[in-house]
């Protein structure tokens, strides 16, 4: 076995391999709800302090300090305040929350109880991506078990604290991962981002003070409370403390979730995953899902923490490491991602709605080898007209893969003026399984999705 600078730090994934890992019984056997018991003996504000001290930052991508977010809630006015867990994990490549809720949902439930206690919430909501019905069932069962065992409901563990949890399944829209669109959707409206201010901390769900946190952030809370802020802060780097799930997918031997301290490098992770696909080498990768600018082999040793990845020109995002080897056409990959954004743009603002529609058509043309003079400039300029001009971050994210891909692989886009990507990079060679390329019915048709 290779000697690593960094070793894995399984906490949330510690017992995923145990039989029936998702049950409350397994969770309790592995020290579950110890954090809650400890929390209920403390004052809510002390828990907020613990989370602040731990350095936990939002695991949904933006990396905002979690304890500070809780601290933004206005003083208690006697009315309700809410915790909403953002479980609408939909980004291409991102697959951490769904496996976690599938394998060990009680981490999230316990985290919800502690967080609710800390912020003074008596009704929490988990907004789950609608497509993952199996996870929905697991969550519903986990909530049911927690109620039965007295971890939810009235007078939790004799503390006098009451909490109800509602698990809500969305209807399948990427935009509902944007926290204000999520709130609108949860209220039964059309999921489109809200005008800010007011921010959710002031007027969120039903216009009440609301904390919206990512699944992994909330699930990390119980162990921080149980083991202490110092334990958590001892992992990771100076400003990116703690550990997290790194999701490797694509052309590696053993794709999957690797829970490690922040600051680990892709080189180490690929080694842990058994290396690249046999006989192939790394071409490009995303550090945090398709909304983060791509990296190449030259970035293999960038520490995967918020600051280092940012300094290298991308974002840590959701630590969704999509690995592509030299058989992959960048143009094709970028086109697929862009089609995703064009399909998922909510339509509210002009730059994102019209821009992604246009980018998709130009990219499809390039992929077919039918690009025209000026297409690359058009792509770059259109990205510039979307980035920072859209209503929410969806539009920004849609441009990242295009601008970064052109930066590193401009020649492949230039080849799109004359040669189809499928000739330069036959898709069969990238496939990990038997594969017959689909014929696209119409090229760049109006409204084609």
């Amino acid at each position: 076995m290779t000697q690593y600078n960094t070793v894995l730090a399984p906490v949330l994934s510690a017992f995923w391999d145990q039989p029936n890992s998702w049950t409350l019984a397994t969770y309790l056997e592995n020290g579950g709800y110890e954090g809650l018991k400890k929390a209920l003996t403390q004052k809510p504000e002390d828990i907020v302090t613990t989370i602040k001290d731990s350095g936990l930052r939002g695991r949904g991508g933006a990396g905002f300090p979690t304890g500070m977010k809780w601290g933004f809630l206005p003083p208690d006015d006697g009315g309700p305040r809410y915790l909403v867990v953002n479980a609408d994990e939909s980004e291409p490549g991102t697959c951490k929350d769904i496996p976690l809720m599938m394998a060990a949902p009680q981490f999230l439930i316990e985290g919800v109880v502690i967080t609710s206690y800390a912020i003074g919430c008596n009704h929490a909501f988990i907004y789950l991506r609608g497509e993952v019905v199996h996870v929905y069932r697991r969550l519903l069962r986990a909530v049911e078990e927690a109620y039965a065992a007295g971890y939810l409901g009235k007078n939790i563990q004799g503390s006098g604290f009451d909490l109800d949890v509602t698990v809500h399944a969305g209807a399948g829209a990427y935009i509902c991962g944007e926290e204000t669109a999520l709130l609108d959707s949860l209220e039964g409206r059309r999921g489109q981002p809200r005008l800010k201010p007011p921010f959710p901390a002031v007027a969120g769900l039903y216009s009440r003070p609301t904390v919206v946190n990512n699944v992994e952030s909330v699930a990390s809370v119980p162990q921080i409370v149980a083991r202490g802020a110092e334990w958590f802060a001892s992992m990771g780097t100076e400003r990116s403390k703690g550990n997290g799930l790194f999701s490797l997918s694509g052309h590696v031997k053993r794709p999957g979730q690797y829970e490690a301290p922040l600051g680990i490098t892709l080189r180490e992770l690929i080694d842990m995953a058994g290396g690249m696909r046999e006989g192939h080498e790394l071409k490009f990768w995303t550090p945090g899902g398709s909304s983060t600018p791509i990296f190449t082999a030259e970035h293999l040793d960038v520490p995967l923490d918020y600051e280092s990845v940012g300094a290298a020109g991308s974002m840590l995002g959701t630590r969704a490491l999509q690995i592509f080897d030299e058989t992959t056409s960048v143009v094709r990959a970028v086109t697929r991602w862009t089609e995703f954004y064009a399909h998922e743009s909510c339509g509210k603002c002009t730059p994102c709605r019209e821009g992604t529609y246009w980018l998709k058509q130009v990219l499809r043309r390039l992929e077919q080898g039918k690009g025209v003079e000026g297409d690359i400039e058009t792509l770059l300029d259109t990205c510039d007209n979307i980035l920072g001009r859209a209503f929410c971050a969806l539009g920004d994210g849609a441009t990242s893969c295009i601008t970064s891909a052109i930066k590193y692989f401009r020649e492949e886009f230039e080849a799109g003026m004359h040669t189809p990507a499928s000739e330069l990079f036959p898709p069969v060679r990238s496939a990990l399984f038997e594969y017959t390329p689909k014929q696209r019915v119409a090229l760049a048709g109006a409204g084609a999705h």
């Binding site: 998922e344 603002c349 002009t350 730059p351 510039d384 007209n385 019915v441 760049a444 084609a448």
Partner: protein, 891 residues
């Protein structure tokens, strides 16, 4: 000036009230930032991103730091020390705006040469002023089949839409009508109803979005015009739509799953920044640059809404809302906007007519005037000028009656009226100047409505009450037989209903007076307390229908005195307040001077240069009708009068038949024409200058739009008076206005306020009910003829009764019910309504329901309810009925 903010735009320091949006602040110093979704009267959306500007803010240490991204100036409030750079000074803002414009145009059809908006289109204009000259887009545009008929009047071309959401925000925020809303997402996002086909989970496309191929998508998009074709869906929507709110004509299914129905939908066409929403009446009729625009005032109601009239080569092609922040803001009713064809439609009279051998024949002005003068000289005559006159004309009729006919027998009130009302108007309204205003309504903490249905009878008054409730927390109360859809939309919770049997409003008002000093539980006390605590900011709005009650006006005055609330009288017709002020009433001279007051008569007789004026109160309209029938009166002069508007059309017809001499001043043929001995054609509003006096007491002058040969009433009356040897000398607009200006204020005694007491309600005979009725905003009114697209948006008439009353009669919801009096009956489908038992509501003058003409009674009367013996075809549900409305307004 404590609550102001100092900041800089393009290097210019400016100071604005706290909370001002940057885009508004820029306007104030003459910097125009392009925009589409922004509208000053709608809540910000920030959707189009056209108004991006570069912004820098001072940090805690006071160092001004640039914000990393350009900001939407339509959602950004100015803050102290902010530095804003627009497209004029910032390359970043300029590029951002050009980029957004290029993106907006990629899916826009650029069919400007055939688009109604071309030439006055914000997209076109801003593309030229702030956009690139050339587009780089060489790909495939998104298309939709065109257009969707939202109603018979409003059409939607989705491919032109830039998704600014102005129309949907107007409908939600201003009008409170369910409209069609955004659906689908991305570039396929569109304004539409909740359509399973468009959303991609209809039965046909099992497998959902993933299974889509572009071709399928295209075909789905094509099917979804379905709106009008999908009979099943439409039937569902019709069933969902509450009876009584169903439009007469075809309509799209709205977001609430009902048939779209709104009285204000024309405003969405006007605020649409592209040509996506158009009106059927104007679509493809003209180019904006061929039109000549004239500011004007709507003749349709007493609000005096500012409008703009556009004409081309002598023909009015459309009307738009004007922008008058103190009156109608930027909104008008669909009647104000679309009902103008009455002025020119067939039936217009252009030449004087005199009756010869029983037939009306065309003649010269000189002969017509000679015949009219001789006829009127033959014996005592009265004047019935109707309620739609300009101030100048009302004055002319009032003066003509006193000087040429030497009588006080003049009454403009072509509706239910009472002696109590005369006292009320003379004591509380006439000569009072501007009383309660639109702005006062907006700021009022509490309003009580009585005898007044704000949406149907007040139009933009309703919009202002809704705004007051939404923005300023107005508490509205209404004394009415049931909670109408309009009352439900005054604020999110609606007005509080104080249920009353028609006719009993006076005693209900007195009960509120009692509740001021003796509080109890319930809405009476809530109203009493809200009015009392509101003091003189609270308002009691009384409508003209109070004239049909016992002691209604007296009790309203008592309530105003008990609570300190102010009274506002809001009649329906545009000419009412002006006619009142000008003395077109049997008891009043101009300026609220009582005819019985010698000093008042001296004032006016000296102004008019006549030795004396008739000194006894004249006959009111009912008495004039009676006197014509009995022969006490020889003749009558009418101005724009419709006998079918009168409370007793049958008696009126008999009286006019019997009258020895009838002179009728008319724009178009009416039910008076057939009795007229002389018909004198007069100009409709578009062909003359004039002024209306709105309910606030505000004078609303307007200029002439079209130069035609048509003459004003006051000029013809002046000529007629000359012919009769009693000149009134107000032939020109300058003369009549100069004389009106010289009237001066009246400081003498006013008419005594009424102080009647409400009686006990009579016992209802078995099988009968009390009639409740009022005008619908869009109905069979004389000024709505020849506009079929508008007529299609009228509400289908129904008879509203409670379920208990229905059970007693033996009818179910939707069954036909016959409402009968001794003289006639009306048969309409039943709509179950939470209305008092033994009360039945019908529209006053809609196709299929002409209460005065068919029943010869007024609201408050006792009518019989029964199951019709013969099945009558239910025409009212069909479009044909809508067209019936335009062919003729006779029952």
């Amino acid at each position: 000036m404590t609550d102001t903010v100092k900041f800089t735009i393009d290097g210019i320091e400016t100071e604005v009230p706290k909370g001002t949006l940057v885009i508004r602040a820029a306007e104030q110093i003459g910097i125009e930032i392009p925009r589409f979704c922004d509208h000053p009267l709608l809540e910000p959306a920030g959707a189009c991103r056209q108004c991006l500007v570069e912004v820098a803010l001072p940090d805690r240490e006071g160092n001004v730091r640039a914000m990393p991204k350009p900001q939407a100036s339509c959602t950004l409030e100015a803050s102290p020390g902010m530095v804003v750079n627009t497209q004029n000074t910032s390359p970043v803002a300029d590029k951002a705006q050009k980029g957004v414009l290029e993106l907006l145009l990629i899916n826009h059809p650029l069919d400007c040469p055939i688009c109604d908006k071309g030439g006055e289109c914000p997209l076109q204009n801003q593309a030229l002023s702030h956009g690139h000259a050339e587009s780089r887009f060489i790909d495939v545009k998104r298309t939709f089949p065109k257009p969707i008929s939202v109603s018979t009047q409003i059409l939607l071309d989705r491919e032109r839409c830039v998704l600014c959401q102005r129309c949907t925000r107007f409908s939600k925020q201003i009008a409170g009508d369910a409209f069609i809303d955004l659906q689908q997402r991305g570039a396929q996002q569109q304004i539409g109803r909740f359509d399973e086909d468009v959303l991609g989970f209809a039965k046909e496309s099992a497998g959902g979005c993933q299974g889509y191929t572009p071709k399928q998508f295209d075909s789905v998009a094509r099917e979804d015009v379905s709106g009008l074709d999908n009979a099943e869906l439409k039937a569902d929507a019709r069933a969902n739509t509450p009876a009584g709110e169903t439009p007469v004509g075809a309509a799209e299914v709205d977001e609430s799953g009902r048939l779209f129905s709104s009285y204000f939908s024309g405003n969405t066409v006007q605020i649409c920044p592209v040509g996506a929403l158009t009106s059927a009446a104007y679509r493809f009729r003209s180019r904006p640059f061929d039109l000549v625009s004239t500011p004007a005032i709507s003749e349709h109601d007493s609000s005096g809404s500012a409008i703009r009239i556009d004409h081309r080569r002598g023909t009015v092609l459309r009307r738009l809302s004007g922008n008058d922040p103190v009156v109608n803001e930027e909104w008008i009713t669909d009647k104000d906007r679309f009902a103008f064809t009455w002025q020119t439609a067939p039936g217009r009279i252009n030449t004087p007519l005199v009756r010869k051998d029983g037939e009306l024949v065309e003649t010269s002005w000189s002969e017509a005037l000679k015949v009219a003068a001789a006829g009127l000289a033959a014996g005592p005559s009265a004047v019935l000028p109707g309620g739609r006159l300009t101030i100048e004309d009302s004055y002319a009729y009032a003066k003509f009656a006193r000087v040429a006919l030497k009588t006080n027998d003049i009454d403009y009130r072509a509706r239910v009226h009472s002696a109590e009302e005369l006292s009320f108007l003379g004591s509380k309204v006439a000569g009072a100047g501007i009383g309660v205003s639109f702005s006062d309504l907006e700021k009022a903490p509490a309003v009580l409505l009585v005898g007044f249905e704000p949406e149907e009878e007040g139009g933009v008054v309703f919009l202002r009450l809704r705004k007051a409730a939404r923005k300023n927390g107005l508490k509205a109360f209404a004394i009415a037989p049931f909670k109408s859809r309009g009352l439900e939309r005054i604020g999110d919770a609606g007005a509080t209903l104080i249920q009353a049997v028609p006719g009993s409003e006076g005693s209900v008002l007195d009960s509120i007076v009692t509740a001021v000093t003796t509080p109890a539980e319930g809405p009476l006390t809530q109203a009493a307390q809200a009015l009392k605590s509101g003091g003189n900011n609270a308002v009691i709005i009384v409508g003209e229908r109070l004239a049909g009650t016992t002691a209604g006006y007296s009790a309203a005055i008592r309530l105003a005195e008990a609570t300190g609330a102010r009274l506002a009288w809001i009649p329906r017709r545009a000419g009412e307040r002006g006619a009142l002020e000008m003395g077109a009433l049997p008891t009043l001279l101009p300026g609220g001077r009582p005819v019985t007051d010698a000093a008042a008569r001296v004032d006016i007789s000296s102004l008019w240069g006549v030795p004396e004026l008739p000194s006894t109160a004249g006959r009111d309209l009912n008495a004039i009708i009676g006197a014509l029938q009995s022969g006490e009166l020889n003749g009558v002069v009418t101005g724009g009068l419709e006998l079918s508007d009168l409370p007793n059309p049958r008696e009126a017809r008999l009286a006019f038949e019997k009258a020895r001499f009838v002179v009728s001043f008319e724009v178009r043929q009416s039910d008076v024409t057939e009795f007229a001995d002389v018909v004198l054609p007069v100009a409709p509003p578009a062909e003359r200058a004039g002024a209306f006096w709105n309910w606030e007491g505000r004078v609303r002058p307007f200029g002439r739009v079209l130069q035609t040969g048509a003459e004003t009433d006051h000029r013809i009356l002046s000529l007629l008076a000359d012919e009769m040897g009693s000149p009134i000398s107000i032939a020109t607009i300058d003369e009549v206005r100069a004389e009106i200006d010289a009237i001066g204020n009246w400081n003498g005694a006013r008419t005594a306020a009424p102080n009647e007491t409400a009686g006990q309600a009579a016992q209802l005979p078995a099988g009968s009910a009390v009639l409740a009725s009022w005008h619908q905003l869009i109905d069979a009114g004389a000024l709505q003829v020849a506009e079929p697209f508008l007529a299609g948006t009228a509400k289908s008439p129904v008879a509203r009764i409670s379920a208990a009353t229905a059970a007693r009669v033996g009818v179910a919801e939707g069954d036909l019910l016959e409402i009968a009096t001794q003289v006639g009956s009306i048969t309409l489908p039943v709509a179950f309504t939470e209305i008092l038992d033994d009360v039945v509501w019908l529209p006053l003058k809609s196709v299929g329901s002409f209460v005065h003409s068919d029943l010869n009674v007024a609201p408050g009367a006792v009518v019989e309810l029964r199951i019709p013996r013969v099945e009558v075809p239910r025409e009212v549900d069909t479009v044909a009925a809508g067209h019936g409305a335009v062919e003729g307004n006779e029952a």
